[in-house]
């Protein structure tokens, strides 16, 4: 189960594993780097695993990012 209700934005850290979410905004110093890697607004992603670093699939690529970076990715559920 995702850890958010249908309208609230949460960080990628808080999303449950195997959930599909949409990136609603990026907020933090590493925004540009994240966008270069495909973490752009409106992109759909799936969280694959939790842990020290998260794994998620974004536009067909599997990326491992630190929790610090995931904190800067705000997501909302796919409607």
């Amino acid at each position: 189960m995702p850890a958010f209700t249908s309208t609230r934005q949460v960080t990628l850290n808080e999303v449950a594993v195997n959930c599909d979410v949409r990136i609603s905004s990026l907020n933090g110093p590493a925004c540009d780097r994240l966008r270069d890697l495909g973490f752009c607004e409106q992109m759909q992603l799936r969280k694959i695993s939790n842990g020290r670093n998260l794994v998620c699939t974004v536009c067909g690529a599997k990326m491992a990012i630190s929790r610090e970076l995931a904190k800067q990715v705000l997501v909302s559920p796919v409607l």
Partner: protein
């Protein structure tokens, strides 16, 4: 003037890491650059030549992968400078080929748009269309070309498909630069680009609605699992090392026997004299003693090639991030350090993928402490001696494991201390790593890479080691004396005199002048110590398996101090091992460190620190052991 006589145009290949630039570069130029299924295999610019279908020569630049034209790491900076013509000694490109992974277009097009906006003629190489189609992506290259305003060539570089079409697109005159329709009124915001890409992908690269679990996903659920993932990683690492030590013994024995027979044949063919002695005791004993380790080096590079090409290396880096963090490093330092088990030179070069400059310096500093393959000859000589048995027992394997563990643990501790002292980076760098899909192994590239490394090892044996072997033989032979006693002959020779001179410095470590001389000769290349000892203890090659090494061990075991005590006690052997675990005895590594760290000060500092550390550690082991009564 004919087209062929004009100066060749320069074509640069640019793209995200792991988009297949080097595979394409190899296919275009017929070159043999190393490729791997791991982001950041290419860390420096490579150049090659190709011809258009009309016979016009093109200079091709293979750039390191980058995610955007905002350079974050040193390898990305090289790519940026190369496309903008700011790289010294490299011509600005006349045309850029943007290599994109078709299965990953949303992301790869971001860099492609930035490159197209530079205003140079561009061609989009839509690589890996097979993977994209397999994942259900519906591609429309004609639509992509229309919207981007540049030629788009669908291809599968790994299978050589689309290469001819790409060459057609590179023919003169080059296509005109795109009119960049997505930027209106000079607006170059990221958002405009993103919206354009999203619209373009809806039109020309539609994804299936439901995300299906691919083979990679299924395998990752096991290999990235917090428990099974670790079991798999340990099993893989164990298999690699076990295979290196067990499989290599058969070809090693064959090489050994062949060299022995060759030595015997030369001895039988020539009359006794200095020249025969030079060939048999100097050249064959010296070079042969090192060449015998070729199978192990081939196996180590083969396994690293397999791990990289399959895509597993990135998973290992992901798992190791937590462990590396304890040393103040990140998972990205894993590949450079793991490669250093084979050879510190590719290891140091691989640090270019590390974003943080300080983490990179620390990784370069400790990389030579990961026991490299050149240390193996030394370990294989000393470890059986320590146990008074021949090669190949499990106890020896355990000691070897301990040796690797000691080097690695020290590297981690020093990295942690050094990282703490260097302080935090100006801008924080967080761990991020692409986990590429598992791919079928590209055997031809793996084999070519292994042959390449093996050849460079053989070349080293034929140059540095051959030269030093001849020098050592001369030092151990001249000036001559009338005495027939080998001990007296050696004491009278130049080598004996050097040994006597340096003996006071090495005696506290438990070594005599002869061992000291052998160590001294190994500062240019550590594996030379085996040849040096073989020459100093005048061991001849034999035609029996392992007999040469075992003969050398017998000689070393029988060697004594002038008062009759055995030269090597278990304690002094451990002291010698410890010295070789820690000392940085490799001139090529020091040269590469100076280049990569950008300062000779750092390289010389590393050399002095490691040599000093090795001396102190050896001293501590020997003197500490003696105090404890060993």
């Amino acid at each position: 003037m004919s087209a062929a006589s004009e100066a060749p145009s320069t074509v640069a290949l640019i793209g995200n890491p792991n988009s297949g630039k080097t595979t394409l570069f190899n296919a275009l130029t017929g070159a043999n650059q190393r490729v791997g299924n791991y982001a950041g295999v290419t860390v420096e610019l490579k150049t090659g030549e190709t011809f258009t279908p009309h016979g016009r020569k093109l200079l091709v630049l293979d750039l390191p992968g980058c995610y955007s034209l905002r350079a974050n790491s040193p390898d990305e900076k090289i790519a940026l400078d190369a496309v903008t013509g700011k790289l010294p000694g490299t011509a600005a490109p006349d045309l850029i080929v943007c290599v994109v992974d078709a299965s990953n277009l949303e992301r790869h097009l971001q860099l492609a748009l930035q490159v197209i906006e530079l205003g140079l003629p561009c061609v989009l190489a839509l690589n890996m269309v097979d993977v994209a189609e397999k994942s259900g992506l519906r591609l429309d290259p004609a639509k992509l070309s229309e919207e981007l305003g540049i030629p788009v060539v669908p291809m599968q570089a790994s299978a050589g498909k689309g290469i001819i079409e790409l060459k057609q697109a590179l023919r003169h005159p080059f296509p005109p630069p795109s009119s960049v329709t997505w930027l209106k009124n000079g607006d170059d915001s990221e958002e405009t680009r993103r919206n354009f890409i999203a619209d373009l992908c809806t039109l020309a690269a539609r994804r299936p609605d439901a995300q299906s679990r691919t083979f990679s996903d299924k395998l990752d659920s096991l290999l990235l699992h917090p428990v099974f993932g670790w079991i798999a990683l340990i099993a893989v690492m164990f298999t690699v090392f076990w295979a290196i030590f067990s499989f290599a013994s058969v070809p090693m024995d064959l090489i050994d026997a062949a060299l022995g027979s060759f030595g015997g044949w030369v001895e039988g063919m020539m009359p006794e004299g200095d020249f025969r002695s030079l060939l048999v005791d100097g050249v064959i004993a010296g070079v042969g003693g090192v060449l015998v380790f070729l199978p192990q080096i081939i196996l180590l590079f083969l396994f690293i090639g397999l791990l990289e090409s399959s895509g597993y290396m990135a998973r290992a880096a992901f798992l190791m991030d937590g462990v590396m963090a304890k040393a103040g490093l990140s998972g990205k330092a894993f590949l450079p350090l793991f490669s250093s088990y084979a050879c510190a030179i590719p290891g140091v070069m691989a640090t270019r993928t590390i974003d943080s400059a300080k983490e990179r310096l620390v990784t370069i500093f400790v990389a030579p402490w990961m026991s490299c393959s050149a240390r193996l000859p030394v370990y294989f000589l000393i470890v059986p001696l320590l146990l008074h048995e021949n090669e190949g027992s499990w106890k020896q394997a355990l000691i070897l494991f301990g040796i690797y563990a000691l080097g690695t643990a020290t590297a981690f501790i020093v990295a942690r201390v050094l990282r703490g002292r260097l302080g935090p980076d100006k801008s924080p760098n967080h761990f991020l790593l692409e986990l590429p899909p598992y791919r079928r192994l590209q055997w031809s590239y793996i084999f070519r890479h292994v042959i390449d490394r093996a050849w460079s090892f053989v070349k080293k044996a034929g140059t540095i080691i051959l030269g030093l072997s001849i020098l050592l033989w001369a030092l151990a032979t001249y000036p001559k004396t009338d005495s027939k006693d080998p001990g007296e002959i050696l004491a009278h020779s130049a080598m004996g005199r050097i040994g006597a001179f340096i003996e006071p410095a090495v005696k506290p470590l438990g070594f005599d002048g002869r061992t000291g001389t052998a160590i001294l000769t190994s500062f240019a290349a550590r594996e030379v110590v085996v040849s040096s000892l073989a020459i100093i203890f005048s061991v001849e090659e034999t035609d029996d398996d392992e007999e040469t090494r075992s003969l050398l061990r017998d000689r070393i075991a029988a060697a004594t101090w002038p008062d009759g005590r055995p030269l090597f006690s278990p304690l002094s052997l451990i002291s010698l091992l410890v010295f070789f675990i820690y000392a940085l005895q490799c001139l090529p590594t020091t040269a590469v460190v100076a280049r990569e760290a950008g300062s000779w000060k750092w390289a010389i500092g590393q050399f002095l620190f490691m040599s000093g550390f090795a001396y102190a550690a050896s001293l501590l082991v020997f003197q500490g052991g003696r105090l404890l009564g060993f």
